[in-house]
């Protein structure tokens, strides 16, 4: 079974985002970029499936700008076998919408015929939480979102999902799309020898047009602003003073 893992290049989670003065979005020029943390968990899970003999090949895919090559090299260094980069924009500030990404992924799936797609549950830039569900819909497949446990057994997979107030376990027909949540695993770090080896692994470059997908957005960005700042607070001198202030504020 082939496993496809879509990965997204996003601002590193340790970087403070700055809104651009013209309101068109967040400044992405000269900022440290990394693989979306939820996608790292998806890559890790795919590699573990291969190590357990349940997958034969792990293919990492990224849709975006040419610089997403680096993100794919990270996935290859972790242990993915090969990578496909679909260039859908020349501008690092253009975010490709989940619907477009899902359509391009559908094109790749039609060619590659994987048994499983593992995605992060959301990207930490646009926080849309949509690509996996949309892909599943376009394929007419089952879906299992927010997975914290995954067990594949032949024609079906049993997935435990993190839902409001607890956990839900469902059984889905294969092929399927699983979106992963934090508790599923802890991603490995790529070792230096594996980083070197990753440079020699195959990375195909395609464009959105290769899959017949129109990448123009459905949502026009009208404005982007910083959230309202919190008013500065005060320092208290002791635990007793803290309790007093909390009581005054009606917090305890």
């Amino acid at each position: 079974m082939k496993v496809i893992v879509p990965v997204k290049r996003v601002i590193d989670y340790n970087v403070k985002v700055r809104v651009k003065a013209d309101g068109s979005g967040v400044d992405l020029a000269n900022v440290k970029m990394s693989m979306n943390p939820f996608d790292e968990i998806a890559v890790e899970q795919a590699i573990r499936l291969k190590e357990a003999g349940k997958a034969d090949e792990v293919i990492a895919v990224s849709v975006g700008v040419k610089q997403a090559q680096e993100t794919l090299r990270t996935a290859l260094a972790m242990g993915a076998d090969r990578a496909i980069l679909v260039i859908a924009s020349d501008d690092v500030h253009t975010d490709i919408e989940p619907l477009t990404v899902a359509k391009i992924l559908k094109g790749i799936i039609d060619e590659e015929q994987p048994g499983l797609v593992l995605c992060g549950k959301q990207a930490i830039d646009n926080d849309m939480n949509a690509t996996g569900q949309m892909l599943s819909a376009l394929m007419g497949w089952s879906q299992a979102t927010f997975a914290s446990e995954l067990d594949i057994d032949g024609d079906s997979a049993t997935v435990t999902r993190e839902v409001d107030g607890g956990l839900q376990t469902i059984k889905v027909n294969m092929p399927t799309v699983v979106t992963v949540d934090l508790r599923l695993n802890e991603p490995r770090y790529a070792s230096l020898p594996n980083i070197m080896k990753a440079k020699k692994k195959p990375l195909d470059e395609k464009t959105a047009a290769d899959y017949g997908v129109d990448a123009s957005p459905r949502l026009e960005i009208v404005n982007t602003v910083e959230p309202a700042a919190r008013a500065a607070g005060i320092k208290v001198g002791s635990v007793d003073e803290l309790i007093e202030k909390l009581k005054e504020a009606g917090a305890v």
Binding site: P98, L99, T169, L182
Partner: protein, 308 residues
């Protein structure tokens, strides 16, 4: 201009607060028709009919909707979609599972976690875990939206809408329910708790996290942790508050031994009152704290727990 609103129904029971908040948000868009689904949903539909601003309730009762699996519920919504310009839901994990599927089947984008309605096609939503707010205008004929509850007041309960029973759509038979495990902790759930007490790397060990838990129990609070504490193995991953964990906005957030990394602040800065206890007075957490206490947490936290 009609709106179809997917009510939050779990095992036949209406999540009234979540649904009524979404009704408030949807009211700005047009007449609201609520869709209740479940193996049983008559009671939930009757209750939804009383929410102010609801024009009509559709009740789809069928075993295939019993656990609100995404595939059958999405197919049902798509079968009804012709009559509506907006298809909306409260931003729960259930709806976030279902609504993007609906949007893709309709060949439109979804807008998740919307916090404000500007007009019928323009909406505001947080990006980067709330570190920026973005206003987007949809060019799609139909708009599929989830509304974040925290920013809308719940609609009142003076309504008397009619309830219409509707048939089920075809069962796609792609998935099946196995079991639910409702969280068994005696503590409140992290994302909906009124009070959250979180520990960071400063707590120092898994064992010492007990003093965080003791304070949390005194305040009837959920326990959270910074990513640094989780990465150090002091706390389980599902306690993580931050951009890569849970986003919380309780009435009171107590950050103990947390320096205030950007990615943590993104997950808790919308809390009403923030208390920070840290021995490093330069820690960035103090810049967002309403009340900061520069102290050794191993003295201050047990003292606070005993005096509250």
């Amino acid at each position: 201009m009609a709106v179809l609103l997917l009510a939050e129904v779990t095992d036949g029971e209406l999540a009234l607060d979540a649904t009524a908040k979404a009704v408030t948000a949807a009211g700005a868009l047009g007449d609201v028709t609520v869709l209740a689904t479940g193996a049983t949903c008559a009671d939930a539909a009757a209750e939804a009919a009383k929410i102010d601003g609801v024009a009509k309730v559709l009740c789809a009762e069928d075993p295939i909707y019993g656990k609100r699996l995404a595939e059958p519920v999405a197919d049902l919504i798509v079968s009804l979609a012709g009559d509506y310009e907006h298809i909306v839901a409260p931003a729960t994990t259930d709806a976030k599972n279902i609504m993007p599927r609906v949007a893709a089947l309709l060949d439109v984008m979804v807008m998740s976690d919307v916090t404000a309605v500007v007009d019928g096609s323009t909406f505001e939503r947080p990006i980067y875990a709330g570190n920026a707010m973005q206003t987007v205008k949809s060019s799609d004929a139909k708009k599929v939206i989830t509304f974040r509850g925290a920013t809308f007041d719940a609609a009142g309960m003076g309504g008397s809408a009619s309830v219409e029973n509707i048939g089920a759509a075809a069962d796609p038979a792609l998935s099946s329910w196995v079991e639910d495990k409702v969280a068994t902790s005696d503590r409140p759930e992290l994302t909906s708790a009124g009070v959250v007490v979180s520990g960071g790397r400063g707590v120092g060990s898994e064992d010492d996290f007990k003093i965080i838990e003791a304070l949390a129990d005194k305040l009837n609070a959920a326990v959270g942790a910074s990513r640094a504490a989780v990465d150090s193995g002091y706390a389980p991953n599902d306690w993580q508050v931050g951009q890569t964990g849970k986003v919380v906005a309780p009435d009171l957030y107590v950050a103990v031994g947390i320096s205030g990394a950007i990615q943590h602040l993104a997950g808790m800065k919308d809390s009403k009152i923030i208390v920070a206890i840290n021995k490093d007075e330069e820690a960035p957490i103090f810049q967002v704290a309403d009340f900061g206490l520069v102290a050794d947490l191993f003295d201050a936290v047990p003292d606070l727990t005993s005096k509250l």
